[in-house]
Subunit: 237 residues, 2 copies
DNA sequence: CGCCGTTTTGAAGACAGTCAAGATGCGTGG
DNA sequence: CCACGCATCTTGACTGTCTTCAAAACGGCG
């Protein structure tokens, strides 16, 4: 589960710290200090990174890849809470608040992680208080996303939820395409369903409807072209 | 731990700072410094404290009373996101992240607020970095609540959502009663509905069902006795 | 006591969930 | 490169539950 991608190791560490928003306020020297604290680890698709209820002793930062954070409902179904990508982190409340992990985390593809141990992280925060402020900003952003999710789930229309998630994926993973925006979906239909709180089949049906309406075009199961972004946006507001 | 309650105004400032978790790590002298920065304000039931999309320039801490935070859905209905009580705060992302307010806030009853202006707050955080850590803990707690809300809304059963919200109110506002736990509801039926993402009538119906089952007893419209807490809890897990 | 706003109840309709079967996509191995 | 087979996705029919609209009951407050 371990790996050094470029041989020298040091520069890929640097890459990691450079790319992570919470360290963006630090200078060369400070970054180098942070870099020395980092332990790296690699996970393959489907591997579990943390379990809900466990007591992680690291702050985990995603350097490359995608990670889903989820809980199980009482019926045993997954409820996906977050989709983490490059630069995102988790484990902060365990280290700072002494809480147990609120969700499980699983790699959706080959994923490189940077981990900072509890004591190192606590020292780090003490030494560079700006890091706390960055973390606060990130947590606020996460809160805003969840608030929007709650709003979407509260306003019942399934149409709006689907549109919302398509736009989210589009912003994160969309690339230009002659016909519109090409989006590579990070989830299967089942995953999308779990992310927006719906049944697999409902997602299928609504996507088909959107395709019939000329709003999207599906290419296989993993790609979608957004032909008419405005139509999607219109449903939300 | 000293308690001031002499009514001299200055002391009630102290009360405020003493009661607020994010200042709990500070000593007498430091608290006194914070106290001098605070501006107090009172709102009556129904008054709007902040509007979604505005640019608040204060951190707002609730010293007494209850505040609901909400957004409007595209259909013009309220979606309540948070119910803030004594010691809760909001406005942090506006001050630290430069963002606009993500929700409107309205006083549910006579409410006393402590407000700290942007520049004072920024100085405060610089001077006492532990405050950031407290804020992070609070934000994490808030995230966890929202995560649970998303989970509840995702797992469709309306029964679970009602049970969940009753238990939440019970923990926050419940008092002992010979028959069980007496809960004074902070919201009307409409408010509860907006909080859990349901229709007014659905809330009525499910509460009636719970009463018929002997799980709760309604007293007027604003009070409920939880007769069988375990029955409620059982629905959740 | 009487009014007005809120809540409850009723009935009809819509929509998503479930179960089941069929189609499609995708990776494997020949 | 093609063919096979499994996993995933789509489609269909049906059921259950929430929503909506409407009317009646209730509660709180002057």
């Amino acid at each position: 589960m371990k790996q050094d991608s470029c041989g020298c190791g040091k520069c890929s560490h640097k890459q990691c710290t450079n790319r992570v928003p919470i360290f963006s306020g630090l200078n060369e020297e400070e970054l180098s200090y942070v870099t020395d604290l980092i332990k790296r680890r690699q996970y393959l698709k489907g591997e579990i990174i943390q379990l809900e209820g466990s007591e992680p002793d690291c702050l985990t930062i995603i350097n490359r890849g995608k990670v889903k954070a989820f809980r199980y409902t009482q019926e045993g179904k997954e409820q996906i809470l977050y989709l983490f990508s490059e630069g995102d982190f988790f484990g902060e409340n365990n280290l700072l608040g002494g809480k147990r992990a609120a969700y499980s985390a699983e790699a959706l593809e080959q994923t490189n992680l940077c981990m900072i141990e509890r004591k190192d992280f606590q020292e780090l925060v003490r030494r560079y208080p700006e890091i706390s402020l960055k973390i606060i900003q990130e947590l606020c952003a996460r809160l805003e996303r969840l608030e929007t999710t709650v709003q979407n789930m509260g306003s019942k229309t399934m149409e709006a939820r689907i549109g919302s998630v398509l736009l989210e994926f589009s912003e994160k993973y969309g690339v230009k395409h002659p016909k519109g925006i090409l989006v590579t979906l990070p989830f299967s239909r089942e995953g999308i369903a779990s992310y927006i709180g719906a049944a697999r089949e409902t997602v299928s049906r609504r996507l088909t409807l959107l395709q019939d309406a000329g709003t999207i075009e599906m290419i296989g199961n993993k790609k979608i072209i957004l032909l008419d972004e405005d139509a999607l946006r219109k449903e939300l507001e």
